[in-house]
């Protein structure tokens, strides 16, 4: 079996010649380490106030190329390790200089979230979520209105990104498109967690409006990823934190169940398979399941997903 046959055989719930390995390499720090390359100069440049604006301009004018380069390196690293597959994703960010990030840049993504981009002491770039852009319903309405104007371009870039990676690496590894900006996570992160909890109790209709919009966005994103022609697509959501699920499982089902069912239906209507991941959260939910009445099997059949468990290679930071 070659890497693709091995991966797809396992996805069909049949036994391959050996256990296929799918990497989750995504960050420059990991790729650089595996490929034995020195970290990119951008890390030092972003820490230096005199060159920071240059990095900002590179991000804002050449984002598509940067993300392609990042996943090109990730696939090269996965090939070097002998992996059968590796995930690939496309996101969209705009960078700003902002006093909140003294030694780096502030970035806005297409889900209404705010990120800090900094360089580490060992020379790598790291990006971490810090806040939402929409702390009130008015801010959400205004922002969501402006997002609509860039959706076509985003979908085009997403599709092109994955098509290019498949064309360049598809004969050596199986790149699996991943919709990394997920529904639950984007919903709470665009307003911040404390606001999210307040609105859940005080303005549930507003929360539902945000979920619906993030779901519509996600389906568009998913459709664009599937344009690359791969038989499998990865979706997911981070539903847990260090010691347990973030929300009561019944509430997750009530608020997000319909969204996940739509995700599953879209993938299956395109005759693809859906690989669903929840980072550490799935392990946590599973561990807590007897006590918390969380049933993956029940949720899976309700949302039309056959659960497939897989391990994540070491991640340096939280995405």
């Amino acid at each position: 079996m070659d890497f693709k046959q091995r991966f797809l055989t396992a996805m069909n719930h049949e036994e391959p010649d050996r256990v296929p390995v799918m990497g989750c390499i995504a960050e420059p720090a990991t790729s650089n380490h595996i490929l034995g390359r020195p970290p990119a100069d951008m890390a030092g440049m972003v820490r230096n106030p005199e060159t920071r604006s240059m990095v900002r301009d590179i991000i804002n004018s050449g984002w598509t190329e940067l993300v392609y380069g990042n996943f090109s390196d990730a696939l090269e690293a996965a090939i070097k390790l002998g992996f059968d597959a590796n995930w690939t994703t496309y996101t969209q960010m705009e960078a700003f200089e902002d006093p909140r990030v003294e030694d780096g840049l502030l970035c806005h993504d297409i889900c209404g979230r705010v990120w800090e981009l900094t360089g580490t002491e060992d020379g790598n770039i790291v990006v971490n979520y810090i806040d939402g852009r929409c702390h009130t319903e008015e801010e959400w309405d205004a922002w969501d209105g402006t997002r609509k104007s860039v959706l076509d371009e985003f979908a085009r870039n997403t599709a092109e990104h994955h098509k290019k990676l498949v064309a360049a690496y598809g004969d050596r590894i199986y790149p699996v498109g991943y919709t990394s900006m997920s529904i639950f996570e984007s919903t709470w992160q665009c307003m911040g967690f404390v606001n999210f909890t307040r609105y859940l109790y005080q303005k549930p209709d507003f929360v539902k409006k945000v979920i619906d919009s993030q779901t519509d966005f996600y389906l568009r994103y998913l459709d664009a990823v599937m344009e690359c022609g791969g038989e499998v697509v990865i979706g997911g959501d981070d539903l847990g934190q260090k010691t347990g699920p973030i929300m009561r499982p019944e509430v997750i089902e009530e608020l997000f169940g319909e969204s996940y069912r739509r995700v599953s239906e879209l993938v299956h209507s395109r005759n693809r398979k859906l690989l669903w991941q929840s980072s550490g959260a799935s392990t946590v939910c599973s561990r807590w399941s007897p006590r918390r009445a969380w049933s993956w099997e029940r949720s899976g059949s309700r949302w039309g997903i056959n659960w497939c468990w897989w391990a994540i290679s070491t991640c340096r930071t939280c995405w």
């Binding site: 909140r100 900094t118 790291v126 967690f193 109790y201 010691t243 347990g244 929300m247 509430v251 807590w288």
Partner: protein, 214 residues
């Protein structure tokens, strides 16, 4: 103060009814009696202890834990200004901050809410706190405990730096160190030389309560 209004305040908190809890607190505040205000603060603290137990037992989840703390914050916003200075004995001072390079504050803020409701005087240093910021605060406040929060594996080395600096300046013996956050583990705490690791805010509050009782 009539027990029924205190009961109502605690019940509304545990029902996650913010308006009801604030209304009950307003009735207390309108009396203007310091003793009544003190009883109401105790009722809120008692309510949050129940919330903490529910969270630890798996009955409640993070969303409920955070919203209960938000209700308590609103209620305390009404009651705190009416409390007479020195009427309440502090369980001890705790200095808390998120380490340098890390801008996350959710876990730290939940811990602060619950520690304050347990009677601790909490000095919040905020986020992205450099080593010297922690050291200066320990020197100034002589706290029972220093709490450091860290979400990122890329900044976890900051915790060791602070502990080493505490030792170098002969401050380590006088302060307990507790750490928490997504990047950290019990094993990390041991290696870094911390006294305790808190997997969640409620456990963290229980740990410092234990130190306070020593």
């Amino acid at each position: 103060m009539a027990d029924d209004i205190l009961e109502r305040l605690k019940d509304r908190l545990l029902e996650l009814d913010m308006d009801g809890a604030v209304d009950a607190a307003r009735v207390v505040a309108d009396t203007g009696e310091p003793a009544a205000v003190r009883d109401a603060v105790d009722a809120v603290a008692g309510g949050l202890e129940v919330v903490g137990r529910r969270f630890q037992s798996g009955e409640w989840f993070l969303v409920e834990l955070v919203y209960a703390a938000e209700i308590a914050k609103e209620v305390m916003g009404l009651l705190s200004p009416l409390m007479e200075a020195g009427t309440s004995e502090s369980a001890g001072t705790v200095v808390v901050g998120t380490v340098a390079g890390d801008l996350h504050d959710l876990g730290k803020n939940i811990f602060i809410n619950y520690a304050r409701s347990a009677g601790f005087n909490v000095i919040d240093l905020g986020i992205d706190v450099p080593t010297e910021g922690f050291i200066a605060a320990v020197r100034e406040h002589s706290p029972l405990a220093l709490g450091m929060s860290c979400l990122l594996t890329s900044t976890d080395m900051e915790i060791g730096k602070v502990i080493e600096e505490l030792k170098r300046q002969n401050l380590r013996e006088g302060v307990k160190v507790i750490i928490g956050g997504a990047a950290l583990t019990e094993e990390f705490a041991r290696r870094a030389g911390a006294d305790a690791f808190a997997p969640d805010a409620i456990t963290g509050t229980d740990i410092i309560r234990g130190w306070s009782a020593l």
